[in-house]
Symmetry: C2
DNA sequence: TTAGAATATTCGATAATTCTAATAAACTGA
DNA sequence: TCAGTTTATTAGAATTATCGAATATTCTAA
């Protein structure tokens, strides 16, 4: 597979994570599967919109759906997704901290 | 800081990584800083466009620029960015592998 | 000080994302 | 089979991202 194509696929994974609602859903699924109804409760995302976000993550292979009766349970396809999110969260927090200290310094 | 706001900032980090050209640039900077001219050579991205991508990454705190004479050197702001990218790359590769095996299975 | 090299910014055109509202589909129990 | 519950899909409007072309800025060496 060409490098160009790999970068495109890689970017499409990142793109899938590049939305606050989807990140919240991923966070909800960190410890195991949940039905859509529960995700809707926790996140307060409208039904249609939540379903769209889940469909997108399904297509990109980020989550896996399992139907049980009338409910559909979603789970993360790979624990490394949580790890990657956590790392990026750390990058963010370190950035915020550095920015905070910078503001501290310039205030003196 | 509110959770909502953190998810937004987190998403904006992911958004910054969600582009094949920017991922390629980040890959180039994995082992240290490089001048824009060198990045342009390696990646074959047009001057204006490359500069736009670098500006975006600067704004989001992903890269840091250092001017030395007529050249501007860019570097990653945090080694965890490389780690996060590598993890997501692994997620992708494992997905591709699983998809490949799936195709293998269904062909039998 | 001025020409030339390296980099950045601005401006539109095009494409991609995101959302809500409406509707459809899948399933269960009566 | 029908009503009700849960989830998915579609359509269209609004916002946002991406790119190339043109232009501006920053710096150095002559």
């Amino acid at each position: 597979m060409s490098n160009r194509r790999l970068y495109e696929l890689h970017a499409s994974i990142c793109q899938t994570l590049a939305n606050p609602k989807r990140l919240e859903v991923i966070d909800c699924l960190r410890d195991g599967e949940l039905p859509v109804s529960r995700l809707a409760e926790i996140t307060n995302i409208g039904q249609a919109n939540l379903s769209q976000h889940l469909a997108l993550m399904r297509e990109k292979g980020i989550v896996i759906a399992r139907r049980e009766g009338v409910n559909v349970y979603y789970r993360l396809s790979n624990p490394k997704i949580t790890q990657a999110c956590d790392l990026m969260r750390q990058v963010l927090l370190e950035y915020l901290e550095a920015a905070g200290e910078l503001a501290e310094t310039s205030r003196q």
